[in-house]
C-alpha cells in the first residue's frame, strides 16, 4: 500500500441518503461569527476571516469546494520523559471537511488521542500547524484556547467526566449557561433520548445514560466540532450503539464536524471516512461510500 505522507485530504461528501441534510446556512453563519470572534478578539490571526471571502456567506453554495474545518500540517508531538523522547505524532497532515463524521482507528499508543486533544485545544504540538478555518490553534495562548473550547468544541470521553454534584440537566446547563447560542438543555437531552432522567444525578444513571448526558452536554452549545475519544469504550455493545446513534444524529441534524476515536473498526461503517493511525502517523484513509446507520452495526 502506498501512501503519500505529505498531503491527505478528506473532501466533504455530499450527504448521502434521504435523511441527510446539508449543513444549515444559519448554523454556519453562527459558526463564522464564532471563528471571527476567536481570531479577531485575540488578534492572533494574521488574516481574519472576512465574511465576504466565504462563498457560503456570499450566497453561493458550492458543496465541494468548501474550506475544511481543520487543516493539519506537519504535526509532530514529542514527549520528553526522563531524557527519553516519545514520539506521539510524527508529521501528520490532514484536512477535515466541515460537517464530516470521521472515525480514527489504530493500535494503542499510535497517537489518536494526541491528535484529538490538539484539535480540541487541550494540548499543543511540538511542531506543525493546526488551522481551525483560518485560526491557527497552534499560535493561540492558553486563554484563547479556553475560549475556543468554550464556544466551538464539544468533547465526549470514555469516562464521561460528568460533574457528580449536578443532575443530568444541570450538567448540560453548565455548558449552555456560558454558550452564546445554545439549544435548551431539555432539547439537548431529548436528542439523546434522555427526557425522563433529566433530574437524576450521575450516580443514579447507568454508564450508557451517563455517556448520553455527556453527549447532550457536548452538543447543547451547538458546537462546530464534536470530538469523541472512545465514547463506547466503557460500554457494552447494545448501549454503545445507542450512544453512537446519538452522535450520528447530532452530526446529521446539526452538521457538526465530528471526529471519533474507537478501537472498534466496525464503527467505521457509519462514518464518512476512517483514518488509520500507526506509530504516530496516518497509515491510510478509507472513504466510505456506503454509510450504514449506527443501529445496523454490531460487534
Amino acid at each position: 500500500m502506498s501512501i503519500d505522507p505529505n498531503r491527505r485530504r478528506v473532501s466533504l461528501c455530499p450527504p448521502d441518503g434521504p435523511n441527510q441534510q446539508p449543513p444549515e446556512l444559519s448554523h454556519i453563519n453562527a459558526f463564522l461569527r464564532g471563528a471571527l470572534r476567536v481570531s479577531a478578539a485575540h488578534g492572533l490571526n494574521s488574516r481574519p476571516i472576512e465574511a465576504t471571502e466565504h462563498p457560503l456567506v456570499a450566497g453561493s453554495q458550492p458543496q465541494t469546494e468548501i474550506a475544511p474545518a481543520f487543516r493539519v500540517r506537519g504535526l509532530t508531538k514529542t514527549y520528553q520523559t526522563d531524557g527519553i523522547a516519545v514520539h506521539a505524532l510524527r508529521g501528520v497532515d490532514l484536512d477535515i471537511a466541515t460537517g464530516e463524521l470521521l472515525v480514527l482507528v489504530g493500535p494503542s499508543g499510535s497517537g489518536k488521542s494526541t491528535l484529538l486533544n490538539i484539535l480540541g485545544g487541550l494540548d499543543k504540538p511540538t511542531e506543525g500547524d493546526v488551522f481551525f478555518h483560518d485560526a491557527a490553534l497552534t499560535r493561540m495562548t492558553t486563554s484563547d484556547l479556553t475560549t475556543y473550547r468554550r464556544h466551538h468544541v464539544g468533547f465526549v470521553f470514555q469516562f464521561y467526566n460528568l460533574i457528580p454534584s449536578l443532575t443530568a440537566v444541570e450538567n448540560v446547563r453548565l455548558v449552555t449557561e456560558i454558550a452564546t447560542d445554545p439549544m435548551s438543555p431539555e432539547d439537548a437531552l431529548a436528542m439523546v433520548d434522555l427526557t425522563d432522567r433529566i433530574d437524576h444525578f450521575p450516580s443514579q444513571l447507568s454508564g450508557g445514560e451517563q455517556q448520553r448526558v455527556a453527549i447532550a452536554r457536548a452538543i447543547a452549545k451547538r458546537p462546530e466540532v464534536l470530538l469523541c475519544d472512545e465514547p463506547t469504550g466503557a460500554l457494552d455493545s447494545h448501549t454503545g450503539i445507542v450512544v453512537l446513534e446519538a452522535i450520528e444524529r447530532v452530526n446529521r441534524e446539526l452538521g457538526t464536524t465530528t471526529a471519533l476515536i474507537t478501537h472498534n473498526a466496525a464503527i467505521g461503517m457509519m462514518a464518512h471516512a476512517t483514518v488509520r493511525f500507526h506509530d504516530g502517523k496516518i497509515a491510510g484513509i478509507e472513504r466510505n461510500p456506503n454509510r450504514q446507520p449506527a443501529n445496523s452495526i454490531s460487534w
Binding site: V153, F155, F159, I163, S165, A234
Partner: protein, 791 residues
C-alpha cells in the same frame, strides 16, 4: 555499613514530600499550640519560682497591719500571738517629692529601714551604693526603678516635705524589695516609676519627722508553718485597735503580691484556654488530610495487603506519617516555646522588679506538651487508621463508589433556582459533607476568636478610661492630706495658682459586715452636688447623693450580698471607731476599686467629728500647671498628689506596650491557624475535585470560573465563620475579664467594631493569601490526564 530503607518507609518519605505544603501548615499550627503551651506554662512557672525564691530569701512577711500610733512595747505582745514567727514594727508614710527634672510633684512611700542583716522581714536587695549609715537622718535608699526612670543614683539628692519640714534627702543607694515587686502608688493600677518611688530611711529619722518616737505605725508579721491566718489577723486587730489599727490583712491583699499573683493566674488561664484551640485545629487538619490521603491511596493499601503486609504494618505506616508531621510540629513548638518563654520571662522581669530570675529548662513540661500533642494527633486519626486496618484487599482495590449526591432540601426551595450551576456545585458540596463543613467553619472561626481576645483590650481599656477618667473621677488633681483637716482648707486650696474648683472628701477605713460576709473598704464622703468626682449608677447617670445611708459599688454589693433596702454593719477603724447599722440606699458603678459612699456631713456625724476632710479634688487651669506644681511640692500638709494626666499617660503607656506585644503574637498565631485551615481545605478540595475542575477546564471554563468553584465553598465557610468566631471571641473575652477583674479594678466587657474589623481583616487576608497559593495550581491541572483515567 549500608542503611536500607524499607520500601514502605521510602513511600512514607515520598508521601511526606508530596504533602509537604499541607504537612508544614499542620505542623505550624501544632507548633503554635505547643509553643504557646510551653511559653505560658514555662513563664508562669519561672515567675512563680522566682517569686517564691525571692520571698523566701528576703523574708517577705505574711501579715501586714497599719496602725495610727502604737508604742514599741506592743511588739512583744504581737510576737506572743499564737503562730507568729517574727514581728517587724515600722514607720510608713506617704510623702510629696520634688524630683530634679520633674515638673510635677512625685509621690514617695517612706519605709523605715533597719539593718537587713539582723534577720528582719521584708529585707531590701541593695543594687547600688551602700546601706544607710546608723544615725544618719538625711540618707535614703530609693527603689531601683524610680532611680532608673529619674536618672538618680547614689550621690544625688531629692527634696521632700517631711511632716511640714522641707528637707534635702541624700541618696546613698538603690534597692529592690519583695514588698514592692509591683510598685503602685495608691489608687493606680499600673506602675509609674517616674512619679512614684519607695524611700527607705532610718527609723529614728522618720520617727522624729512624724512624731512617732518610741512608736510605730505599721507592722509586718511572719507566720509559723501551719499557723492560722484569720486567727492571727483577728488577734493583731484586737491588739492594735486601741492604737488606731485600721485592719490587718494577709499577703493576698498586699498590693504588689496581689498584682503579681493576678498576672500568674492570668497566664495559667491563658495556658488552659489558648493552646487547646491550636491543638484541636491541628488535630482536625490532620484528620482531614489523612482521611483524604487514604482515600487516594485506597488501591495501594489493597495492594500492600494483597502482597502480605499485615493490617498493623499498613496502619503503622500511616501512623508514622501522622507522627512525622506531629514530631516536626512538636520540635518547632518546643524550640519556639523555649525562646518565647525566655523573652516573655525577661519582659516580665522588667515589668516586675526582681533581683534575679529563675528560668530553668523544664523537661517535664516538654514531656507533657509532647504527650498531649501526640495524643491529640493519634486521637484525631484513630478512626481513619482503624478504617485502614479494616479495609480488605478486595474491597480496597475495587474503585470506591462515586460520591453520590441526592436531592436535598436545597432543591425543594426556590433558594437554588436562581443560582448558576457552579454555585449549585458549591452548595451541594457543602451539604454533601456537612460535618466537615461545620468543623472547617469552627476551625476558621478560632483565629477570629483568638484575635478578638487580645485586640478587644484596646477598646475595653478606652471604655474603662472614658468611664473612670472622663465620667467619674474628672478632677485634675487628687490630694491626700497627712491628717484630716478642717473643711476651711478648701479656701486655702482655692487660692493656689490655677485652681478653678475644689471639692473636699472624707475617707475612712471601715469593715462592712453583712451576715457572714465581711469586707475591709474605705467609706468616702462626698459633698452634696459633687461634680468633679461623680458617682454614677448602672446606666452611667449621675446619682443624687442621699442625705443618709450608704451607696455601695456593685461589686461590693455582690460580695456582701446586700441590696438597696438591706442593712449592713459598719465598723469604722479610725478616730473613735464607731460601729453602726446602716441602710444600703443605692448602688453605683465603679471600675476602679470597690467601696462605700455617703454624704460628707453624714460621715462627719458618724465619725463624731466636726467638718473635716481627708483630701480634696481640684480642677485646674492647664496654663498655670507649673506654678501649681511648685506650690504643691512645698505644701506641708500633703501626703500624696495624684494627677489625672500622668495617671492616664502611664496607664496608656503600660497598656500600649503590653497589648502591642500580645496583639503581635496573637496576630501571628491566628494567621497560622487561618492559613493552615484554608490551605489544607483548599488542597483537599483540589485533590477531591481536581477531576471535576479539569473537566470544566476542558469544557471551556476559564481559570477564574474554575477558581470560583474551588474556593467558593471556602469563601462561604469563611463568611459564616466570621460572625461565629466573633461570638466565640466575645464569650472568651467575657471569660478572660471574669478571671481578670478584681476588687482593685474592673475592665468593662466592651468589644468595639474596630476589634471585629481587625480580626475579620486578618483572617480574610490570611485566607486570601493561602487560597491564592492553592488557586495557582488550577493552571497546572493536567487536562489530558483526567480524560485518560477513570476516577
Amino acid at each position: 555499613m549500608t542503611v536500607t530503607i524499607s520500601p514502605l518507609d521510602r513511600k512514607l518519605l515520598r508521601d511526606l514530600w508530596h504533602l509537604r505544603g499541607q504537612a508544614i501548615a499542620i505542623a505550624l499550627v501544632l507548633a503554635a499550640g505547643v509553643a504557646l503551651f510551653v511559653t505560658l506554662l514555662g513563664t508562669m512557672r519561672s515567675l512563680g519560682d522566682t517569686r517564691d525564691a525571692y520571698y523566701e530569701r528576703y523574708r517577705f512577711a505574711d501579715i501586714f497591719a497599719p496602725v495610727k500610733r502604737a508604742p514599741n512595747q506592743l511588739r512583744v505582745e504581737l510576737a506572743r500571738i499564737h503562730g507568729v514567727a517574727a514581728v517587724q514594727t515600722r514607720i510608713f508614710s506617704g510623702v510629696t517629692l520634688d524630683v530634679p527634672g520633674l515638673a510635677e510633684p512625685a509621690t514617695g512611700q517612706l519605709v523605715s529601714q533597719v539593718d537587713p542583716t539582723t534577720g528582719s522581714l521584708n529585707n531590701i536587695v541593695l543594687r547600688s551604693g551602700r546601706l544607710l549609715a546608723p544615725g544618719a537622718d538625711d540618707e535614703v535608699i530609693i527603689s531601683n526603678a524610680f532611680a532608673d526612670k529619674n536618672d538618680l543614683g547614689p550621690g544625688d539628692s531629692i527634696k521632700a516635705v517631711l511632716n511640714g519640714r522641707r528637707q534635702q534627702l541624700r541618696i546613698v543607694g538603690t534597692a529592690l524589695s519583695p514588698e514592692f515587686v509591683y510598685a503602685l502608688s495608691p489608687g493606680t493600677i499600673v506602675p509609674d516609676d517616674r512619679r512614684f518611688g519607695i524611700l527607705w530611711m532610718n527609723r529614728d529619722a522618720l520617727a522624729a519627722a512624724f512624731d512617732l518616737e518610741g512608736a510605730f505605725n505599721a507592722v509586718a508579721l511572719k507566720l509559723q508553718r501551719g499557723a492560722s491566718e484569720p486567727a492571727v489577723i483577728a488577734a493583731v486587730d484586737r491588739i492594735l485597735a486601741p492604737f488606731g489599727g485600721t485592719g490587718a490583712f494577709a499577703r493576698q491583699d498586699q498590693t504588689s503580691h496581689f498584682f503579681l499573683t493576678g498576672e500568674l493566674d492570668q497566664l495559667a488561664g491563658f495556658s488552659r484556654l489558648i493552646p487547646p484551640i491550636f491543638l484541636a485545629v491541628a488535630a482536625f487538619l490532620l484528620n482531614i488530610v489523612v482521611t483524604r490521603l487514604i482515600a487516594t491511596e485506597r488501591e495501594q493499601i489493597g495492594l500492600l495487603k494483597a502482597f502480605g503486609y499485615s493490617d498493623i504494618a499498613v496502619a503503622t505506616h500511616y501512623a508514622k506519617l501522622v507522627l512525622a508531621i506531629t514530631a516536626a510540629g512538636i520540635i518547632v513548638g518546643l524550640a519556639a516555646g523555649t525562646w518565647l518563654g525566655l523573652s516573655m520571662t525577661s519582659y516580665y522581669t522588667r515589668f516586675f522588679q526582681f533581683p534575679f530570675v529563675y528560668f530553668r529548662p523544664q523537661p517535664d513540661l516538654f514531656a507533657f506538651a509532647t504527650a498531649i500533642a501526640v495524643a491529640a494527633a493519634l486521637l484525631a486519626t484513630a478512626t481513619t487508621l482503624r478504617r485502614i486496618m479494616r479495609l480488605t484487599p478486595a474491597v480496597a482495590m475495587s474503585p470506591p463508589a462515586p460520591p453520590s449526591y441526592r436531592h436535598s432540601w436545597l432543591d425543594h426551595r426556590s433558594l437554588i433556582a436562581w443560582l448558576g450551576q457552579p454555585s449549585r456545585m458549591i452548595l451541594r458540596h457543602i451539604t454533601r459533607w456537612p460535618l466537615r463543613a461545620a468543623l472547617t467553619t469552627i476551625g476558621l472561626s478560632m483565629p477570629v476568636a483568638v484575635l478578638i481576645t487580645s485586640f478587644f483590650f484596646f477598646g475595653a481599656i478606652e471604655a474603662f478610661i472614658d468611664f473612670h477618667f472622663d465620667q467619674t473621677a474628672r478632677q485634675d488633681v487628687t490630694m491626700t492630706f497627712f491628717e484630716p483637716s478642717q473643711a476651711d482648707v478648701r479656701r486655702t486650696l482655692a487660692h493656689l495658682p490655677g485652681v478653678l474648683a475644689v471639692e473636699g472628701y472624707r475617707a475612712v477605713p471601715a469593715k462592712l459586715t453583712s451576715g457572714t460576709r465581711q469586707k475591709r473598704v474605705a467609706i468616702t464622703g462626698y459633698p452634696q452636688g459633687a461634680d468633679l468626682s461623680r458617682l454614677l449608677d448602672g446606666a452611667l447617670q449621675p446619682i443624687t447623693l442621699p442625705a443618709e445611708g450608704l451607696l455601695l459599688t456593685t461589686r461590693l454589693a455582690d460580695f456582701l450580698a446586700a441590696r438597696p433596702g438591706d442593712t449592713v454593719t459598719v465598723s469604722v477603724m479610725e478616730g473613735r471607731r464607731p460601729t453602726r447599722e446602716m441602710p444600703v440606699v443605692g448602688l453605683i458603678e465603679s471600675y476602679l476599686g470597690i467601696g462605700a459612699y455617703m454624704d460628707l456631713a453624714a460621715l462627719n456625724r458618724l465619725m463624731l467629728e466636726g467638718p473635716v476632710l481627708s483630701g480634696a479634688y481640684l480642677m485646674t487651669d492647664a496654663a498655670e500647671e507649673e506654678r501649681l506644681y511648685r506650690a504643691l511640692k512645698d505644701s506641708p500638709a500633703v501626703a500624696g498628689v495624684a494627677l489625672r494626666r500622668t495617671a492616664l499617660e502611664s496607664l496608656r503607656d503600660t497598656l500600649a506596650e503590653n497589648l502591642l506585644i500580645s496583639v503581635t503574637f496573637t496576630t501571628a498565631f491566628a494567621t497560622i491557624i487561618a492559613f493552615g485551615v484554608v490551605y489544607n481545605s483548599a488542597r483537599i478540595a483540589l485533590s477531591e475535585q481536581g477531576r471535576e475542575l479539569a473537566s470544566l477546564r476542558v469544557l471551556g471554563f476559564t481559570r477564574g470560573e474554575v477558581t470560583y468553584i474551588l474556593l467558593g465553598e471556602l469563601a462561604i465557610l469563611i463568611l459564616v465563620a466570621l460572625p461565629i468566631g466573633s461570638l466565640i471571641g466575645y464569650g472568651l473575652a467575657a471569660a478572660i475579664l471574669h478571671g481578670l477583674n478584681n476588687d482593685l479594678y474592673r475592665i468593662p466587657l466592651v468589644v468595639t467594631p474596630a476589634t471585629y474589623g481587625y480580626a475579620w481583616t486578618v483572617v480574610v487576608v490570611a485566607s486570601l493569601l493561602s487560597s491564592l497559593i492553592v488557586a495557582r495550581r488550577i493552571g497546572q491541572l493536567d487536562l489530558i490526564a483526567v480524560l485518560k483515567t477513570r476516577e
